[in-house]
């Protein structure tokens, strides 16, 4: 509980220091003259241009957002503040304005505005055919989305909870991922499947699933996970514009995060990871809600004298091994913090990928902190113990850095 509040206050406290100006051009560097007013630029390959008191400034801005290679967000416009679900809606609305083939379908997305209000007001603006309320049949409205995508529309299918999309697994695996391939490239499926997942507040086992585990093997799809209003909007727009089927994972507990995002249009990259906090001692890889637990732990770690590098991997399929690799080459120690189960989760795959590609650079075995292989219990205390807590992260880093 404390973690999210902490993170939120960290975000809102960023007014004094405009966190957007802490940008990390991952592949292209911006010239110094463009970085008006920024005091710190850290490249993911480790080269740093910084002013003094870097560490102190970074604690206050534990969750810094990075501007992606598209727009230079050092513009003098102040931006506007909004909550994560509003950012998703803003991204969705901008894309629906821009392209008339974009449409939304799902349960209660139209007149009701969506269970998490992501589509609020859209049915009134675009009509209830373009923002379609569907009967309760996940396999079928996902199939419908696939059919519509093959016929030239760009649908966004909302699962009320990611767990319900298990009913749509047939359509997602057998058709969504495959039809572009099996039709010899004749039919494309530019569909976006999105919804909230992850462990919430005592929602019970069926509503707390981590579907990214189950979907990650399906060939032909891309998976991304958003964690801040900035990247939520950016990833939503990128997913809609992508010609491939994209599954966008949101988290039930992150919808009310507040952040100031740029007024001008921007799109995040679907395949890039986000450098949250550069560091030297250890690479912590995480995504979605666990990012906030990690940053909470980072505060403690910094006080203890450690300098963790925190990367929000964002792209779950494929992994951004470029950013991750550069970090590993710098720090030589890796800690993965995830919400997935121990067996077969994103962390398991990531561990394998890093070991395979960067084994020579590791000074210690990779530590992966995940949830246990149990259904998520309802009781609050039990539920808390299934999710990785900041204290465990601190212990793990200490262990790694021995």
């Amino acid at each position: 509980m404390a973690t999210i509040v902490g993170a939120a206050t960290a975000l809102s406290a960023s007014k004094s220091f405009d966190s957007r100006k802490l940008h990390l051009p991952s592949r292209r560097s911006l010239s110094v003259s463009e970085r008006k007013g920024s005091f710190l630029v850290v490249r993911s390959d480790g080269s740093v241009v910084h002013k003094a008191h870097r560490a102190q400034k970074l604690i206050a801005n534990a969750v810094a957002t990075k501007a992606d290679s598209s727009a230079a967000s050092t513009a003098s416009k102040p931006g506007h503040e909004l909550l994560l679900f509003e950012a998703l809606r803003e991204g969705l609305e901008e894309e629906m304005d821009r392209d008339p083939t974009v449409c939304v379908m799902g349960e209660d997305v139209g007149h009701y505005g969506g269970s998490y209000k992501v589509t609020k007001g859209l049915a009134t603006k675009y009509g209830d055919l373009r923002v379609l309320d569907t009967p309760i049949a996940e396999n079928s409205f996902t199939g419908m989305g696939i059919g519509a995508a093959m016929t030239g529309l760009r649908p966004i299918v909302e699962g009320m909870n990611m767990g319900f999309l298990l009913l749509a697994f047939n359509q997602i695996s057998n058709n969504c991922g495959m039809l572009h391939y099996t039709s010899g490239g004749q039919f494309k499926i530019p569909i976006v499947i999105r919804g909230p997942g992850g462990v919430g507040r005592q929602l019970g086992a069926e509503h707390s699933q981590r579907l990214e585990s189950y979907f990650q093997s399906i060939p032909g799809i891309q998976m991304v996970a958003c964690s801040t209003p900035y990247n939520a909007k950016g990833l939503m727009k990128a997913a809609i514009r992508s010609e491939n089927p994209v599954i966008l994972f949101e988290h039930v507990l992150l919808y009310n995060l507040k952040e100031r995002i740029p007024d001008e249009e921007y799109v995040c990259s679907l395949e890039e990871a986000e450098m949250v906090r550069p560091g030297e001692h250890v690479t912590i890889l995480t995504y979605s809600r666990m990012r906030y637990h990690v940053m909470q732990a980072a505060k403690t770690l910094v006080n203890k004298g450690y300098d963790p590098e925190v990367i929000d991997i964002r792209s779950l399929k494929p992994f951004d091994l470029h950013t991750i690799g550069n970090s590993v080459k710098k720090t030589h120690r890796v800690l993965i913090v995830e919400e997935c189960m121990r067996t077969g989760g994103i962390g398991a795959s990531l561990t394998a990928a890093i070991t395979e590609n960067f084994n020579d650079y590791l000074d210690a075995p990779i530590i992966c902190l995940s949830s246990q292989d149990v259904p998520t219990p309802y009781a609050g205390t039990l539920e808390e113990w299934t999710v990785v807590q900041p204290a465990q992260i601190v212990t793990a880093v200490e262990q790694l850095c021995q």
Binding site: A137, S140, I146, L153
Partner: protein, 484 residues
């Protein structure tokens, strides 16, 4: 909604007047928007089983961006159909509308007294049955229909044999269902989108897919437009508006509704035709596809080929309803049952269904009764679960191709000479097509990795390089006649 029950006559009369007024108010407000294409649905008399088509054309000034459903108004209006306007006192108000109540406990019987009759135009001898409203067919179309049915039949026989000889890995035939295949294809226009199950190459053949292209797909060579990624008979051709055949049963049904949704948004003068077998209707996707289509008011035709068998499962073990046609009403979908061995009946029904689907923006269910003369596929031997006599009977006495031939011959449009010429020409083309397809190169390694995504991502590039490296190191283990 209030569940008031009207008992006393005086109260009933007073309240009914109010309801009546409500009904009238509704009617007039609805009438003022009578441009909507829902006007026809409430002018349809109750219990009209014949589904006579109304040539009412929809609101064509459709704004792509904002389209609202007017159907909730239609629902309120339809209440007035069910209530006695003379002040009857037996009605309840529930979500979903008004419903009369009765103090007699009656269970709706599980089956009607008589089965739903099936529509046919030609009798078993290919003679036109008197007093028929069927779609007239021009000579050229009739000849094309017949010759395509013969071509389909011959392709099935020859490719089946080719599989038996080991030249193709798998095949399945449409024997006994040629009339459904070609009759439905002839009823549709080239713009109509077809989402097949897997026993419907007819529309593809009708629309110009060549025998060589069929052979290329079955042989999996590099000329196949599907890039040899699917097993035989899993045809796909975007050019011909024929969506990819996908093995899992019934997955195409919700997708077809999605495609119809897209057509509805565009306001296009086209519909979707999707096919399913009797067995496929047991899948969950059938239920949801039908339900969605009805709720969405999608311009789609569900064509069910009820051929009596789902591999070895006869229909008595598949469902207990009177076939598929009766399920239409359960979803609020207009339906018809036709004789699937009668090409003219199939054509008429589906042409009419198409007009209704597009002009009234509604789904239609067509159940075509037939018999699966062939085995389920080359992996099946149906004599294990059904009698050879039964198969023979349907192959000869109820053969749809022969029946149609009798009709066109009687019209003087076809002769024995035409028959011999056509059959020998098709046979030659088919044998040649297989030979050429066999000799054509198989696709190269690059085809293994392309089209998974729109562009090749780095992990797949890596994996492709690994495969190539393996082939370089062990060339003996790699077939020499396949390009790398």
């Amino acid at each position: 909604m209030a569940n008031w029950v009207i008992r006393s006559r005086t109260i009933a009369h007073h309240l009914n007047k109010k309801m009546g007024l409500f009904g009238i108010l509704n009617l007039s407000s609805w009438n003022s928007t009578s441009n909507s294409f829902h006007s026809s649905s409430s002018t349809m008399p109750l219990g009209d089983k014949h589904g006579r088509p109304h040539a009412i054309f929809g609101d064509s000034a459709t704004h792509f961006a904002v389209r609202r459903f007017k159907s909730t108004e239609a629902e309120r209006v339809s209440d007035t159909k069910f209530i006695n306007q003379d002040g009857g006192d037996q009605a309840l108000d529930f979500p979903g509308g008004k419903v009369e109540f009765t103090s007699e406990m009656n269970f709706i019987s599980e089956s009607a007294d008589k089965r739903v009759p099936c529509y046919r135009v030609l009798d078993d001898n290919g003679e036109l049955i008197v007093s028929n409203n069927f779609v007239q067919v021009r000579k050229e179309v009739a000849i094309k229909m017949y010759s395509d049915m013969v071509t389909l039949q011959m392709m099935d026989n020859i490719f089946y044999e080719a599989q038996r000889q080991g030249r193709i890995s798998f095949y399945l035939t449409t024997l006994g269902e040629e009339a459904i295949n070609i009759g439905s294809a002839a009823a549709l226009s080239a713009d109509d989108l077809v989402l097949p199950q897997y026993r419907e190459p007819g529309p593809l053949m009708w629309r110009g897919f060549t025998l060589q292209e069929f052979a290329n797909q079955c042989l999996g060579n590099k000329e196949d437009k599907g890039k040899a990624r699917q097993m035989p008979i899993h045809y796909v051709s975007k050019k011909h508006n024929y969506f990819a055949v996908s093995s899992p049963i019934a997955t195409q049904l919700p997708q077809a509704v999605g495609a119809a949704y897209s057509l509805k948004m565009e306001g296009k003068n086209a519909c979707v035709a999707t096919y399913i077998g009797d067995g496929g209707t047991s899948e969950g996707d059938f239920h949801a596809g039908m339900n969605f289509a009805a709720v969405l008011e999608a311009p789609i035709i569900f064509i069910c080929r009820n051929n009596g068998w789902a591999i070895s499962t006869p229909i008595e073990e598949q469902f207990r309803s009177d076939g598929i046609v009766v399920r239409g009403r359960a979803y609020g979908i207009r339906s018809i049952r036709v004789d699937g061995s009668d090409a003219l009946a199939v054509l008429s029904a589906i042409r009419t269904a198409r007009e209704m689907a597009i002009s009234e923006q509604r789904p239609i269910l067509v159940e075509a009764l037939a018999y699966r003369v062939g085995h389920h596929s080359t992996s099946d031997d149906s004599t294990k679960y059904r009698s050879v006599n039964e198969i023979e009977y349907w192959k000869t006495a109820r053969n749809p191709v022969n029946r149609f031939r009798k009709w066109i011959e009687r019209n003087g449009w076809w002769s024995d000479k035409d028959e011999t010429e056509h059959r020998s020409s098709v046979k030659k083309q088919l044998l040649q097509a297989i030979q050429i397809a066999e000799k054509t190169e198989k696709p190269s390694i690059e085809g293994l990795f392309s089209d998974v995504y729109d562009h090749l991502p780095s992990n797949l590039q890596e994996q492709e390089e690994q495969v190539r490296e393996t082939i370089r190191r062990h060339p003996k283990d790699y077939p020499s006649d396949v390009p790398v």
